[in-house]
């Protein structure tokens, strides 16, 4: 069936209509886009500053992880650089011109990429304009000491100066790798000064997981020290050629072997994924990764391709292919160093972790069956803060756990530390985690879990809300500087400590925003302007506005950003 322009239902504003929408949502919580509203249209122009740029694809996609960034509309600019996209359902989107060889003004490394765009039913949005200029190109050839091409080696182009402005969105996020002739070509670069390098082993260790060749990081033309790198300066639309790199021999790598045992009984732990992390010269942990290694029936592991350096090895407890019972354990990482020989005999001990259990409750829904149906979509996310604070700890987030029909949940294998619990769901709009209780008392910012503790009596309260807030921000005494981002936050006022409803969304280029699924109550709404990496402007905020929301009601706010303040 084609996307029709015939509305099945007018955009609902009254409480009654919204209530019926609520009923619909409860009846069909798993059906996305069950109702169609009057579609919106979006048009604009893409120029190079003077003339329109033809043939550029413009895409509008859902800014909603549950929608997996589904495309809502897509089209190309005409000979004059104009585009017009139709048939878009109201909602929150990103709009992105797909012009990888160009530098698009104002398009930064935000996620998801593009500019936010909040569309209301039946809107005709005009003048969504973009300006862009051709990017610069750096190209060259990478060869080894014998003059042979270095094939399929990623090439890194990084700004030579620390404060080279904000990182720009890269359309092609995959590496620019050399081809079978050793040739690479990096394009779409903003003008500036860059260092070009290949290889990823340096002062920190590296693991060649697929047993590919591992090269010492080497800068153009042949420098292993960054200070000796020849900086390449590029200008708009200009191609810099012959930026060649000569690398040394592939690094010699070593094997690391050991075993996993349980800390209490010393039993071997088979079929578990082995994780590695690198340690920098200051002793800081630099992320963790699997090496594709799994322990054998005797709990032993062996990983090859490890370059000299300092590492930790640990149990990747959150891997899907682990045996179920491994979820009861955690491991403290075992450090080791590779210098000029294989390493054997490492022992990683699995400790039985703490267990935290409780229930998830849904408030604001009278129908118990509907509440139970909502619970089926909810996952509880545990996060132990010691993971982040202690540099030697694995950085892997723990796996989310499901919630039983009665709302019960159980999180196992927790290492000692401060536990934060969150919830998420991919199907039901309007569920907000409003408070976490432990033995009847509100918890503020997580609670401490001792080694091996058994903690029951946790209650996670989700509040169902059907109110919505639509905002239109006005900018006075100036315009938004490029790179500035605008966020709108709605906070429920008058809450007791430990109880909060706080939601933040991005404000679109027109100053629009829409926050849905809020529980009824009085909210304080503030709009912020801010910049990443100390961008060109100063952070600003609007005067807080208060608004009372009833169930199923959509209210409007009009915050003002004054650039003179």
């Amino acid at each position: 069936m084609p996307k029709l322009n015939t509305p099945k239902r007018r955009h609902a504003r009254g409480a009654l209509a919204a209530a019926s929408a609520l009923l619909l949502a409860l009846a069909l919580p798993f059906v996305a886009h069950a109702q169609k509203e009057v579609p919106a249209t979006v048009s604009g122009r893409i120029t190079d500053g003077e003339r329109g740029v033809p043939g550029v694809t413009v895409t509008i996609f859902a800014n909603d992880p549950a929608q997996r960034f589904r495309t809502a509309a897509r089209g190309k600019t005409d000979v004059d650089g104009r585009f017009s996209l139709t048939g878009i359902q109201p909602g929150r989107y990103q709009i992105l011109p797909v012009a990888p060889a160009y530098v698009v003004a104002g398009l930064m490394m935000n996620y998801p990429p593009g500019r936010p765009l909040t569309l209301l039913a039946g809107e005709e949005v005009k003048d969504i304009d973009f300006q862009m200029e051709p990017g610069a190109v750096i190209t060259g050839r990478v060869t080894d000491a014998d003059g042979n091409p270095v094939i399929n080696e990623p090439v890194t182009v990084s700004p030579a100066e620390q404060n080279a402005g904000q990182p720009r969105f890269q359309f092609d996020q995959r590496d620019h790798a050399t081809d079978d002739r050793g040739v690479y070509r990096v394009y779409g670069l903003p003008p500036g000064r860059y260092r070009v390098s290949v290889g990823r082993a340096g002062e920190v260790g590296a693991v060649s997981i697929g047993r590919r060749k591992l090269f010492r990081r080497t800068f153009h033309p042949d420098a292993v020290e960054q200070a000796q790198a020849r900086v390449v300066e590029v200008k708009t639309g200009i191609e810099s050629t012959d930026i060649d790199i000569t690398v040394g021999r592939a690094l010699k790598t070593y094997k690391v072997a050991g075993r996993f045992v349980t800390a209490d009984t010393g039993q071997p732990v088979p079929n578990v994924s082995v994780g590695y992390g690198t340690i920098d010269p200051r002793g800081r942990r630099l992320g963790g990764f699997g090496a594709g290694t799994v322990t054998n029936a005797r709990g032993e592991f062996q990983t090859g391709g490890i370059a000299p350096g300092r590492y930790v090895v640990y149990v990747m407890t959150n891997q899907m292919n682990n045996p179920q019972e491994v979820a009861e354990f955690y491991s403290e990482p075992t450090p080791f160093e590779v210098t000029d020989a294989d390493v054997a005999g490492l022992v990683v001990k699995l400790k039985r972790g703490a267990v935290v259990s409780g229930v998830v409750a849904v408030e604001g829904v009278a129908d118990r069956a509907a509440a139970a149906q909502m619970l089926a979509a909810v996952r509880v996310h545990p996060w132990v803060e010691s993971y982040r604070e202690n540099a030697a700890m694995p950085g892997s987030p723990m796996r989310p756990v499901t919630v039983g029909a009665d709302g019960s949940f159980r999180v196992t294998g927790l290492m000692p530390g401060k536990l934060r619990l969150g919830t998420m769901n991919d199907a039901v709009k309007g569920l907000t985690l409003t408070r976490v209780e432990l033995n009847g008392a509100n918890v503020i910012g997580g609670f401490d879990v001792a080694a091996g503790a058994q903690i029951a009596g946790v209650r996670l309260v989700l509040t169902y809300g059907s109110a919505a807030l639509v905002g239109q921000t006005t900018f006075v005494n100036g315009t938004l500087p490029p790179g500035g981002r605008v966020m709108a936050a709605a906070n429920l006022t008058g809450s007791t400590p430990g109880t909060r409803v706080s939601r933040t969304v991005e404000v679109d280029a027109r100053g629009y925003f829409r926050i849905e699924g809020l529980p009824a109550g009085e909210y304080e709404v503030i709009v912020h302007v801010f910049f990443f990496n100390g961008g060109p402007g100063r952070a600003r905020r609007s005067e807080p506005q208060r608004v009372v929301l009833g169930d199923g009601v959509e209210a409007k706010v009009a915050p003002v950003i004054d650039f003179n303040k």
Binding site: M1, P2, K3, F30, G55, T57, T59, P65, A66, R68, F69, R70, T71, R74, V98, P100, A101, Y111, P112, P113, P149, I151, N152, E153, P154, F171, D172, Q173, R174, D175, A177, D179, D180, R185, Y187, G188, S208, G210, R211, R212, K213, A250, N271, S273, F289, G290, G292, T293, V294, T295, G304, G305, Q319, M320, P323, R379, P397, P400, M424, A427
Partner: protein
């Protein structure tokens, strides 16, 4: 296989994970297919355990290119990576993988790098069959020069392997839009759709090379295995910015059209095929969407995959994935051009593909196709046992060299395959199912095996042996459904010689049926029979006939006794090399008729099937063999290597 691309795919997703807490869920959805293999955040393991790519051919005979100068320790596979002229190749990445899908999570795939002398070794291996993958960027493992099919494997512990790497093929060209402007950062894929001789590989999941266009619209895909390729730009997963795995551009095949209008480009080792320029067609892109339903309410541990394939060729044009614990089991596939497709969902658990929907035909005509429902049903399996009969036990003498070398490891080193019966000639009307491929298992040490991931329908069981002393004596099906036998229970010991000869390797499976009680009897005393095909001796004084095109011939062995005419285990066929040689191993002793005849691949037919499988061609084969009348009597343990077979006969 261009794995580094996969690696960076995972990497960019991993980067996305950090940025948004909520985005983690969706990024994880996309990552999941990669997690099927034990996967690092930085690099991707060479091949998923299911091993969709590079399945070696099952063509008759065991074409072992294995050399065994000094047997290494029993539990090791050793080898050497060499270049085109035999020089050692250091730093090649070598991966060892079980030949048959193992339980996910059952240990990691060992990998090694070749040393200065090109040597590698894998030690401490359990008995079994293994494949070896060697990777060196830009290079491929040498393949058969006529077909581009792999030459090697599988291997057993104790084998010593020489892996020869040659420069892969290259395809390159420029992609432009409808106005003739270059298209930047667009994915271009080269998909190996046929062997060089035009036959379709047995695996419907072909080798694919991939690149993205640069700012000039130029792409260059290298390291291709020899074969016939179609090249296309755009389509599913071709957009440069992850996690937007689905792009809206419809696929445009070289030179400028649909899949059916695609040119099939021959690519040979070391060859560069240039100017494969593609002008993007600008037809609108549609979406195909729907939901996946599970009878149990849950999906396998590794979620569900949805494949949209071209109805004409079975080639994948779009995929979607649903996380195992997703509550919303909806899917959509973007960038679909108008046309005919087949759509199927499969769900993967620790035992592999455990559930699948029926494949259904989807017509896309000028609009999105929505509301499709794919109902998963459990897949069937066939289990049984392998029984080994030593020569002495069978009451026959056991001459020297006639005994299995490693009887204790025999079951694990046997390949049991269930192939779905495919009606020939009906290809075009058939709905493509990604499960309509032979599924294999290796028995455990006690001889028990289970072939999984089978759809309902007629299947044929075949057994591949790797010890020259062995042959398949019989295959027996469980008793009819009246008294269903217990799982794994062999037939009563009263099996007589008469019933043993009445072997039936064909069985019918109902959808989701867990068939048990298959019995495979393997005996010592096998015959090896090799020789050459030669033109008839010319009468004295006349000029000799030009030799026939040997590579298009196959040699057949048929049971000489008419009463065994329906015993398919006594039919063997083997390809003829370009030098005219042929070789049979693992033959049952007995009296046979030998016949060489041209081998015809039916158009659109995948995986050449043994000629004797069809009743009609089997009768034809017998008529031709009786007319040619070249009988041989093969004694137990006989080794013949100099037989001269005349073609055409007389």
């Amino acid at each position: 296989m261009k794995l580094p691309r996969l690696k960076t795919f995972a990497e960019s997703l991993a980067g996305a994970v950090v940025r948004t807490y909520l985005a983690r869920a969706s990024a994880a959805l996309l990552l999941l297919p990669l997690l099927l293999a034990p996967c690092g955040a930085q690099e991707q393991q060479p091949a998923a355990p299911q091993k969709a790519q590079a399945a070696p051919p099952e063509a008759g005979g065991s074409a072992a290119a294995t050399t065994r100068p000094t047997p290494p320790p029993r539990s090791a596979i050793t080898g050497r990576v060499v270049g085109e002229s035999g020089e050692p190749v250091p730093d090649a990445a070598v991966t060892l993988q079980p030949r048959v899908f193992m339980r996910i999570g059952g240990g990691s795939l060992p990998n090694a790098a070749s040393d200065e002398a090109g040597n590698f070794s894998f030690e401490g291996l359990d008995p079994g069959l293994y494949e070896i993958f060697a990777m060196l960027p830009g290079f491929v493992v040498e393949t058969d020069s006529l077909t581009g099919r792999p030459l090697l494997g599988p291997y057993r512990p104790g084998d010593n392997v020489v892996v020869r790497m040659v420069k892969g093929g290259v395809v390159t060209g420029t992609v432009t839009d409808g106005q003739g402007q270059p298209v930047a950062a667009l994915g271009v894929r080269a998909v190996r759709v046929r062997d060089l001789d035009g036959s379709t590989p047995p695996s419907p999941f072909p080798n694919t090379g991939e690149d993205r266009t640069d700012d000039r619209g130029v792409y260059r895909i290298y390291g291709l295995r020899p074969g016939l390729y179609v090249v296309y730009a755009g389509g599913y997963g071709s957009s440069g910015f992850m996690p937007f795995a689905s792009s809206g551009d419809i696929a445009t095949f070289y030179p400028s059209g649909t899949r059916d209008a695609a040119a099939e480009v021959p690519v040979r080792a070391g060859q560069e095929v240039s100017n494969l320029d593609i002008r993007m067609r600008e037809d609108p892109a549609r979406q195909v969407s729907g939901t996946v339903e599970s009878p149990t309410g849950t999906l396998g541990e590794f979620g569900a995959g949805i494949n949209l394939t071209y109805a004409s060729t079975g080639m994948v044009t779009g995929t979607a994935f649903i996380n195992a614990n997703a509550t919303q089991r909806s899917f959509w596939i973007e960038g679909v051009a108008d046309g005919e497709y087949d759509l199927q969902a499969t769900s993967t658990g620790r035992d592999g593909v455990t559930m699948a929907s029926a494949s259904q035909r989807v017509s896309v005509r000028g609009a999105d196709v929505t509301g499709l429902r794919l109902a998963l049903v459990p897949l069937a399996s066939a289990s049984g046992s392998l029984r080994f009969e030593p020569a002495a036990e069978a009451g026959r003498p056991a001459p020297e060299g006639c005994k299995a070398v490693r009887a204790s490891q025999l079951p694990q080193e046997t390949l049991v395959t269930a192939a779905p019966e495919v009606k020939t000639g009906a290809t075009a009307a058939r709905v493509f199912s990604r499960l309509a491929v032979p599924q294999s298992a290796t028995p455990d040490a006690a001889g028990a095996f289970t072939v999984r991931s089978l759809e309902g329908g007629r299947h044929r069981l075949s057994v591949r042996l790797f010890d020259e002393a062995l042959y398949v004596r019989s295959i027996q099906m469980p008793a009819p459904a009246a008294a269903p036998p217990r799982a794994g229970a062999p037939r009563p010991a009263t099996t007589t010689a008469a019933s043993a000869s009445a072997s039936r390797e064909v069985f019918d499976l109902k959808s989701g049926q867990q068939l048990s009680g298959l019995l495979v009897r393997v005996a010592e005393g096998a015959v090896s029979f090799a020789g050459t095909v030669a033109p008839p001796e010319p009468p004295a004084g006349s000029t000799p006939e030009p030799p026939p095109p040997f590579s298009q011939l196959r040699v057949h062995l048929l049971p000489q006794e008419r009463e065994r005419a329906e015993d398919l285990l006594r039919y063997y066929e083997a390809p003829v090399t370009s030098e005219g040689t042929f070789s049979f191993k693992n033959l049952a002793p007995g009296r046979y008729l030998v016949l060489a005849r041209p081998f015809v691949v039916e158009a659109g037919e995948s995986a050449p099937r043994p000629t004797a499988w069809e009743t009609g061609t089997r009768a034809l084969l017998r008529r031709e063999a009786e007319s040619a009348n070249t009988p041989v009597e093969l004694q137990p343990c006989q080794r013949t290597n100099d037989f001269v077979l005349r073609f055409p006969p007389k």
